[in-house]
């Protein structure tokens, strides 16, 4: 990857990094951090679903694994939070590789793959809710100790910058993937798996690489979530909400594009915020809007926009 490939991502990162300098309102930074964490989760989904065409309905399995691993290792074993964060990414990636191996080796595609990922996430949720190791139904509380060495900060600005840096890293990684052999082969598998195999693409290996990377990135989002909110339970970590968030943002912003998940997450969460300020805090209303937007986007695909961006950038 050259600088020419990377500059839009770097420009985005630089502009976004200025936010804390202008905004000091806690609620807005809070909103920005939460949205960025979801961007990261969505970017993970985008690699497998957007580029690879394998629609997972269970990315919660990876988000939750990242979150619980980060939490459990520091609460129960006193491991440094930065280390537990990295361990969470590794474990989520490993979970992705295992689920991928089992499903792809069995030849599961399309709806079947969506179903099996959903089922895996549910198994994790039921387990995490039942066993004492994870804190069970009461959840897991990470003790507040706001020192940088603990990956906790007194003010939100620093955490914002760390989350942003990770999002930029994920975007660069996606951009590099797009320009690489693996990326080309992944897209080929999405478009036509048979034809790709005939051209020497090891479809199983390519899909496994994609789900591992995808799971690792979404796992990082889980780890950040745990570290920011200092609390995890089974519905947060392994609930269907995060599987849905991770999939909605790329679909709405443009699946299989570098900025799709970012655009989608920002659009969705701004919409949700706007609705809340209009009609008040009615539970579920934001998700009603998401659902309607999703149906509309599928019904009237805004192909023009991402296609334009893509055409410009490919030169």
């Amino acid at each position: 990857m050259t600088l020419r490939d990377a500059w839009p991502v770097l420009a985005f990162g630089l502009v976004a990094a200025l936010l804390p300098a202008f905004v000091t309102a806690g609620t807005l930074l809070n909103f920005a951090i939460f949205t960025l964490i979801l961007c990261l989760a969505a970017q993970g989904w985008n690699i497998l679903g957007g580029y690879g065409g394998q629609y997972s309905f269970g990315h919660a399995a990876f988000f939750g694994t990242g979150a619980y691993c980060a939490g459990i290792l520091q609460v129960r074993y006193g491991v440094n939070p930065y280390v537990t964060f990295l361990a969470g990414i590794a474990l989520a990636a490993a979970v992705g590789a295992v689920i991928g191996f089992l499903s792809f080796r069995s030849g599961l595609r399309g709806s079947y793959f969506a179903l099996v990922t959903l089922a895996f996430a549910e198994v994790f949720r039921v387990l995490a809710n039942a066993v004492p190791f994870t804190g069970g139904a009461a959840g897991l509380l990470i003790p507040l100790d706001a020192r940088p060495v603990n990956f906790q900060f007194g003010e939100r600005g620093s955490f914002y910058l760390i989350v942003l840096a990770l999002v930029v890293l994920a975007l660069l990684l996606t951009r590099a993937l797009e320009r690489s052999r693996l990326g080309a082969q992944l897209v080929a598998v999405r478009e036509n798996e048979e034809a790709a195999r005939a051209l020497g693409v090891d479809a199983l290996r390519v899909k496994l690489a994609a789900i591992t990377l995808s799971a690792g990135i979404t796992g990082a989002a889980g780890g950040l979530y745990a570290q920011y909110f200092l609390y995890v339970d089974s519905t947060i970590a392994y609930g269907t909400w995060i599987s849905v968030e991770a999939l909605l943002a790329p679909i709405i912003g443009g699946a299989g594009t570098v900025f799709g998940p970012v655009v989608g997450a920002i659009v969705l969460h701004s919409l949700a915020e706007a609705t809340r300020s209009l009609v008040g805090r009615i539970p579920g209303i934001d998700l009603v809007i998401y659902g309607i937007v999703l149906i509309l986007v599928v019904r009237f695909p805004p192909r023009r926009l991402p296609a334009l961006i893509r055409a410009r950038w490919r030169r």
Partner: protein, 297 residues
């Protein structure tokens, strides 16, 4: 692992069979839609929740017994299902598998959260005097088994509905058209069958099955905005196990899953009871995706 006396295990099996029949009914709608439209309807669970709320409103606002509410709710839900397929899923999917997944997912998100917005997350139930009633089933080797009356009714009605559906599919023109579309869509269209209409009718029938199931569940169960989720994965498991699109497979699968859930609840406790189902689901998907009872495609 605990060991239980045989009559306790037998009672758990019997209760599992009774619950399983209603599961089978939920799965019946799902498998019918899959068999004919070849789509996986992720909104199935949310539609069940909707039906349960409808039955609850019928009781709370109009004083209708849930069993009586079946009569108005079946045509209403048939019409709703028809409209949803005709106006939302059909036009948005454009025949693409992944679009259908997304649209039905979107639909389930909308329905589930609309109900959360309207009814909040409180758990509601109906109070009917037969809710706790039990029927004694004699056992020759020990004291009689106690079977829940609402579940017995559910069992009977579920099989009645399956019977009606069988007659509908085999003896009527619409039924024949549905089976023709399921087998060979293009051929059916060429012989003058309105495929979009048949799709919508099938979706309507599937949704009407949910209305019946909701009314059967309500006397002994509760309703909250997420209640459908618990059933939908169970229903998916049944459908995959019974062979996607197979009607008898759905009923048989329902009974099996009912027993599995009841026994794993007995041995593992309630919180882990569901796990048995998910594990079966994953194993079947991975190793026998064409179903345990279905032929290999």
């Amino acid at each position: 692992m605990n060991s239980f006396p045989p009559e306790i295990v037998l009672e758990a099996v019997a209760n599992g069979l009774l619950t399983g029949a209603v599961y089978g009914l939920v799965a019946l709608g799902l498998t019918l839609v899959y068999g004919v439209l070849h789509i996986i309807n992720f909104a199935h669970g949310a539609l069940l929740t909707l039906a349960m709320y409808a039955a609850w409103v019928a009781w709370a606002a109009f004083g209708l017994d849930p069993y009586v509410a079946i009569i108005p709710l079946v045509p209403i839900f048939f019409a709703a299902g028809y409209a949803v397929q005709r106006l939302v899923i059909g036009p948005a999917s454009r025949g693409d598998d992944q679009n259908i997944l997304l649209v039905t997912l979107g639909l389930s998100i909308v329905l589930e959260n609309a109900m959360l917005a309207i009814f909040r997350s409180d758990t509601l139930s109906v109070q009917v005097d037969y809710a706790m009633e039990v029927v004694e089933a004699p056992l020759f080797f020990s004291a009689p088994m106690l079977l829940s009356f609402p579940r017995l009714v559910g069992f009977g009605v579920a099989f009645l509905v399956a019977g009606v559906l069988f007659v509908l599919l085999t003896m009527t023109d619409t039924g024949r058209a549905i089976r023709a579309v399921a087998k060979e869509r293009t051929g059916a269209a060429l012989s003058g069958i309105d495929v979009a209409h048949i799709y919508a009718v099938t979706f309507g029938i599937g949704t009407a099955c949910l209305a019946v199931a909701a009314c059967l569940l309500l006397p002994s169960f509760y309703v909250n905005p997420r209640v459908g989720n618990a059933f939908v994965l169970v229903a998916f498991t049944i459908v995959v196990m019974g062979g996607m699109g197979s009607v008898p497979g759905a009923l048989l699968g329902g009974l099996v899953i009912g027993v599995v859930e009841s026994l794993s609840g007995l041995y593992l406790g309630d919180s882990l009871g569901q796990l048995g189902i998910f594990v079966i689901f994953i194993l079947v998907l991975l190793f026998r995706p064409t179903g345990l009872f279905g032929a290999r495609a």
